[in-house]
Symmetry: C2
Subunit: 571 residues, 2 copies
Amino acid sequence: MNAKPHFLPHDPIQLDSFTFEPFPRSKKVYITGSRPDVRVPMREITQSPTPLANGSVENNPPITVYDTSGAYTDPDVKIDVRHGLAAIREAWINDRNDTEILSQISSHYGQQRLIDSRLDAVRFPQHRLPRRAQSGQNVTQLHYARRGIITPEMEFVAIRENQRYQDIDNNPLLTQQHPGHAFGIRTPRVITPEFVREEIARGRAIIPANINHPELEPVIIGRHFLVKINANIGNSPTTSSIGEEIEKMTWAIRWGGDTVMDLSTGKHIHETREWIIRNSPVPIGTVPIYQALEKVEGKAEDLTWEIFRDTLIEQAEQGVDYFTIHAGVRLAHIPLTAKRMTGIVSRGGSIMAKWCLAHHQENFLYTHFADICEIMKAYDVSFSLGDGLRPGSLADANDAAQFAELETLGELTQIAWQHDVQVMIEGPGHVPMHLIQENMDKQLACCAEAPFYTLGPLVTDIAAGYDHFASGIGAAMIGWYGCAMLCYVTPKEHLGLPNKHDVREGIVTYKIAAHAADLAKGHPGAQYRDNAMSKARFEFRWEDQFSLSLDPLRAREFHDETLPQASAKTA
Amino acid sequence: MNAKPHFLPHDPIQLDSFTFEPFPRSKKVYITGSRPDVRVPMREITQSPTPLANGSVENNPPITVYDTSGAYTDPDVKIDVRHGLAAIREAWINDRNDTEILSQISSHYGQQRLIDSRLDAVRFPQHRLPRRAQSGQNVTQLHYARRGIITPEMEFVAIRENQRYQDIDNNPLLTQQHPGHAFGIRTPRVITPEFVREEIARGRAIIPANINHPELEPVIIGRHFLVKINANIGNSPTTSSIGEEIEKMTWAIRWGGDTVMDLSTGKHIHETREWIIRNSPVPIGTVPIYQALEKVEGKAEDLTWEIFRDTLIEQAEQGVDYFTIHAGVRLAHIPLTAKRMTGIVSRGGSIMAKWCLAHHQENFLYTHFADICEIMKAYDVSFSLGDGLRPGSLADANDAAQFAELETLGELTQIAWQHDVQVMIEGPGHVPMHLIQENMDKQLACCAEAPFYTLGPLVTDIAAGYDHFASGIGAAMIGWYGCAMLCYVTPKEHLGLPNKHDVREGIVTYKIAAHAADLAKGHPGAQYRDNAMSKARFEFRWEDQFSLSLDPLRAREFHDETLPQASAKTA
């Protein structure tokens, strides 16, 4: 068990001690790669033996599962949020010898924040200097992959994707699996580092891994790999402290979030982000235009390329792993939204549309796209090309505005790839079930198979309070069709800001959707945990059913409501 | 508002007064058919006007929606559960002049219960005599349909299915809808009584409507109509009183349950059922083998045709609208389950398998199937042909045992149809997404398009505590592919018995799935409520967003957690 963690002195919210407890009957294991500092974390679930009729027992093997929770669930690691996580990637980055530690923060805004003594109380206590590519160097995983280099990050994700399931290859009951229907893709039974490299080189997968986020445990996003999920967190001007946001991040990864987007718009965005990145083992994404807008006091028409550029550099040097950039909202697309039921619902999309209309000029994110690429490749920030014109209602699904933007995102993908910058593409939104596959097919065609990353989609508009589920249906389906990452939706969507409970509901719902997609694709190894669960169910091994569930605590709690006595757990 | 209802004197559980309150901004309306006593209930939701920039307002039309909640939400009706609901179908049945009121209950068991004075305290206070077809008559809706007769039940469901949405035909914004993908079926824009008759005559739809359930508001189940959902309730030997079961039934229909299955296995099954049917405006289904098993003290091998037959008659004379009958579990199929991951998980299926193996004889439900049909047609009880060999895990999905049974159910469908008995077919269970459509296609082919009625299916096995959602994904998809009714799963599935909260979660989840299926099929009118909701959302009409949601109370509650002040509801 961890020692009691330190808390933020100015912000006396305690990280829930529960966050630091391993799941029941689970232990953290590490698989070591070709160098000793490639240590890939997994969660090993112990199973009980099955009593046999003859009085002996059948042993059931431990089940190893993907583990997003980082060092927080490792009892051997002392967590101190004021210090941050260990910089496990630092040696990998140093060894490449293509970066330099800067003598100071490059962004004007970051410099100002640093010297403002009023911020001392909320600042992350460890001052670190940013790292940047040496002049003329390109430090993206895509750049390495295209040059035939297998990075430790690539080896890490290869080991991670395999989930050690080859260990139970000798158990036909557990390894049985339905051939899937994967819409033409073929994932090898064993993921090799070379396969990872090839997929990245082709632009079909990305490893968002900023060189300024050495605490990262790398994760791969691409449709030949396990379907991933993202959790959004972030404060607003009226709610949440830094402590609460860190807690939401650790809570999100505990339940299975593969990446976290910090969508803060409230006070201390810069400082909050530093705390989150330094304590996050998962990639952090942001929407830089949100912070840029704060810098011009909410007036979209006052935005400039210079303010935005400074914001990109500020965030890149903190270690943000991917940026949502709404460069596809072109001036000419905006009239296509005029007759929509719900206009432009993307916040980033409406900011840029407002700017374009105010100046009657092309979107500066579009005109400066090559400049943005130059920044991205100096830190290896991945693009998440935003869908600013995504439909906000079923009525607007798959319309001209949405698809015009998608085509532009395809053009931008090619430009990013010319710079060896990693790209994924954001998608809708609100789409009835029968129109979901068209979204996937068009995205693959327009964007040359760059990974797709969708919000849901919601399959009906009338499920307020249950939109995690209404969108989870669409998420499962588009994951099956080939979407690489699913952005979760919480029960509070459209109604209010999610609390911790909502984050858990959203995450577990989306883990179900992502896993259902892996099963339908016939992803290698996807079914063994289901098989172990089914065997435990058939044998009434209740404790094993709990621990094999996506949410072991919920499963136990519900069981015990009806049958609390211990005898009811071994039948 | 209703007067405070009477409660069961022996059973002082109060029906939650909330159950009797109409939803916010909603009122019960009745559409009258060709005869004054065909009064079809609907719920009309009032909308606020939209303030316009010029200071005037745009009026938004009321939105009429399907209403399963019965007289409980009609403030003009006085509810007294000790008296039961009004017998709205009585005149329809009398007018057909093909039934007779019996002088006493026909079943031996029913007679015994009636004279047992120890049961006086739990008995439904009103003694009613059962009705049966006159000798030589067949009183099923299928029989009438095939003879070209449009019954009041058929007219009722035709009006009900249209949901009065033609009233807003002049509103292009609200009536816009994506063309669906309905896998070859074509539902007319206006459902006529003649269309209903044709679909029933072809066996593609059923109206479960026992002549002993005159309190019923008829509902149609078939894939050319709105997708329906069923809620299971029922006590067990250790839990729940009669009052609680009535409360669960009223709660289920409040949230949108189209039919309710009473799966009670505890004390006073017979008496509980009487209370439920007399107070239920929706069709009630049962699994008679459960009660038959209680009569032989749980020993499956002691079951006999005679005991089962008496149980069928007992329940038919109480008014059960459909029976799950596991006649497809044939002796020859049982060895096909030997190598399964999870054997036979259907309770009815395992009872019959046990009986077959104990006697090494063919399932008596199969051998006596024509005898069963004779009973069904004398009361118009519909078959729900049970899937006793459904898979209990992904590993067992779509296997030889499952499909062998499905083929048998197809044979039995033909026999039932020879007797003009209405039939629907039960389906799985646990199926990964990519194997769901095969279930639907095979069912249509084997069972000559008889309506399909599935439990989920669950698309993963590892979602314990969230199986309402894991199954809701499969339910939405199979509903799209053509499944006519979805049997809900609650969050307690596999873990314990659902309480009221779980019933609500299960129902609303399944309403979302069913509605998503209607949208994907392009069912006429399916999108207008979504459109109204989206317009309200775009115009920040919060009160309208709440009242147009499937669960208005949850939507408001979540909104008010963040923004409780009234001003936040009109922006």
